[in-house]
Symmetry: C2
């Protein structure tokens, strides 16, 4: 392995000078800098990130914690996130939280990353607390943690839920069901909360028997819909698009026509929602910008040692009316 020492020898300078020259330190003359550059080039020297990290106590790596990587929702979060982090000079490490705090937190706390994006926090997770205690910068993306407050980039979930409720009321629906996300996530809670508020403002009840909850995945929607149909709702609000698409498919299987027999509304407006096959009415917000913002918040937090206030960027949702909604009763 080629080290800066080898480059130094070839260039006829000391090892620290190599380090300085290659990082453009002003205190090396243009001459030696060029000499060093050429030597480095000749040996195709690549500085060891580990050496640098140990010395600077910084890794230029960001951990991203998610639950289920195969969920079609995450790529749209992870993609822009990765790119934005890269733009700021950080690399991305992926972690899944499935294994819960124990192992994960060890791996997050071993100083191999400079900060963490929590895209998956449950309300009860101890992770934010732990990170705070260790002074490892973190940001909530999309969801927020329990008690801990911290930087966060989130959409106004409650408003989103309320928008859906209002639209359903406007359309004349009265028998309404809901397939919510996990109640231990703020995303799940807030969307349902807003939805409930909106409904009750319109004088519509949402009995607990018309509500199902589960992970934000296809199966949740797919399974819940059949059960909910027994109560003959005319509309179902789903905690996110992936759940909605699960429900959509269940409807297809059961011969329930959408939107004639059933109005179906999602949340997130992932690209898939606008595919002709679904053309899903849903709550839109700028997902990519959300991810990018979280990256920016985190990077700024990392690079400003001054313990600044926690910042919370709230994205505004809007309803996208496509073709899975209609007025009830043929």
């Amino acid at each position: 392995m080629i080290t800066s020492r080898d480059v130094a020898r070839l260039a006829g300078v000391s090892q620290p000078t190599v380090s300085r020259a290659l990082r453009g330190d002003q205190r090396v003359s243009e001459d030696t800098r060029e000499k060093v550059r050429r030597a480095a080039e000749a040996l195709s020297y690549v500085p060891s990130e580990t050496g640098r990290s140990l010395s600077t106590r910084t890794t230029n790596r960001i951990g991203v914690v998610v639950t289920d990587l195969t969920n079609p929702f995450y790529p749209h979060l992870i993609g822009p996130l990765h790119d934005e982090l890269e733009r700021h000079g950080y690399r991305m490490m992926l972690f899944t939280e499935r294994d819960e705090t124990a192992v994960t937190s060890q791996r997050l706390l071993d100083r191999s990353i400079d900060g963490v994006v929590l895209a998956t926090a449950t309300v009860s997770s101890r992770l934010p607390e732990e990170l705070q205690r260790r002074e490892l910068p973190f940001v909530f993306l999309n969801r927020e943690g329990g008690g801990q407050s911290g930087d966060a980039a989130v959409v106004d979930n409650e408003l989103g839920g309320r928008l859906v409720a209002q639209e359903l009321a406007r359309l004349g629906h009265r028998d309404i069901a809901c397939i919510g996300g996990p109640s231990e996530t703020t995303t799940g809670r807030d969307r349902e909360m807003g939805f409930r508020l909106g409904l009750s403002e319109a004088g519509i009840a949402l009995p607990e028997t018309s509500v199902r909850r589960g992970p934000f995945d296809f199966d949740t929607g797919y399974r819940a819909l059949e059960e909910l149909l027994e109560a003959r709702p005319t509309a179902v609000f789903c905690g996110n698009d992936v759940i909605a698409i699960g429900a959509f498919n269940a409807a297809r299987r059961l011969g329930v026509r959408i939107p004639e027999d059933l109005t179906l509304i999602g949340f997130d407006d992932i690209p898939m929602a606008s595919w002709e096959t679904f053309d899903l009415t849903t709550v839109h917000y700028d997902l990519a910008a959300l991810a990018q913002t979280s990256a920016r918040l985190l990077v700024e937090r990392i690079e400003s040692d001054g313990r600044a206030e926690a910042r919370r960027t709230l994205f505004e949702p809007s309803l996208v009316l496509r073709s899975t909604h209609a007025s009830p009763g043929r």
Copy 2:
């Protein structure tokens, strides 16, 4: 920051003893080991991965190179890959190759990872070559590289393509089109190649005008289908499911009924393919096992210094007949 030195002080032992005790070195007595463990616990000490890395010249990190993270195909590769790597004690770093060799390879070669999974190699990529030169272990996942041979976990793409051709021939199709993947990927090439071979064995021509190619994404299928329909094919083979689903949606938009007016066949059998909305006839293979195998191959390569032969694990594809195929002419 708490270091092993702090733990040593508290436990009343030397710093190296802490290192030894916590890693279960046989040469520390049960007594001191326990003492150290307790001290470490009390300080909630987490060993610095960077320190360890610098000393051992190993990072327990694997780089995974993909192109487009938001492609619905990748999660099904990355998910199992992540888990299998974790099972072997490795963590995953994500890289996108978009930025081409220059930057990426620097970041891969700075010794911050122990090996690379290439899930995205194009035939012309210089990356494999570069990795080989640097003796950085790598494995091809799903695709293979150009000249370079190396460990690889791939599906028998040619056979898959051939299976589709045979089925189309059996169904009686004669006017056939193809929306292939990028011609600079082995996946794209081999699937098309097998398809062509299969067709020509059945005496069916596939004129170049009936072929479109592009990235393995939704848009490729969505856009290509309309163009191809001018030649009035009765069947279209798509380079992968994501393309097929793009084509499916274009068909929906254009009022083309599937399978009555058009047979559509994909490749990969990603979970989405079996959703009721698509119920896509496609080529199946064990995607998760493919990813897991690549992880295993890579880990074994890393951990066996003995320059073993390159190993290539070939997965067998099979045709899954669902409901997007039929015989031509109503």
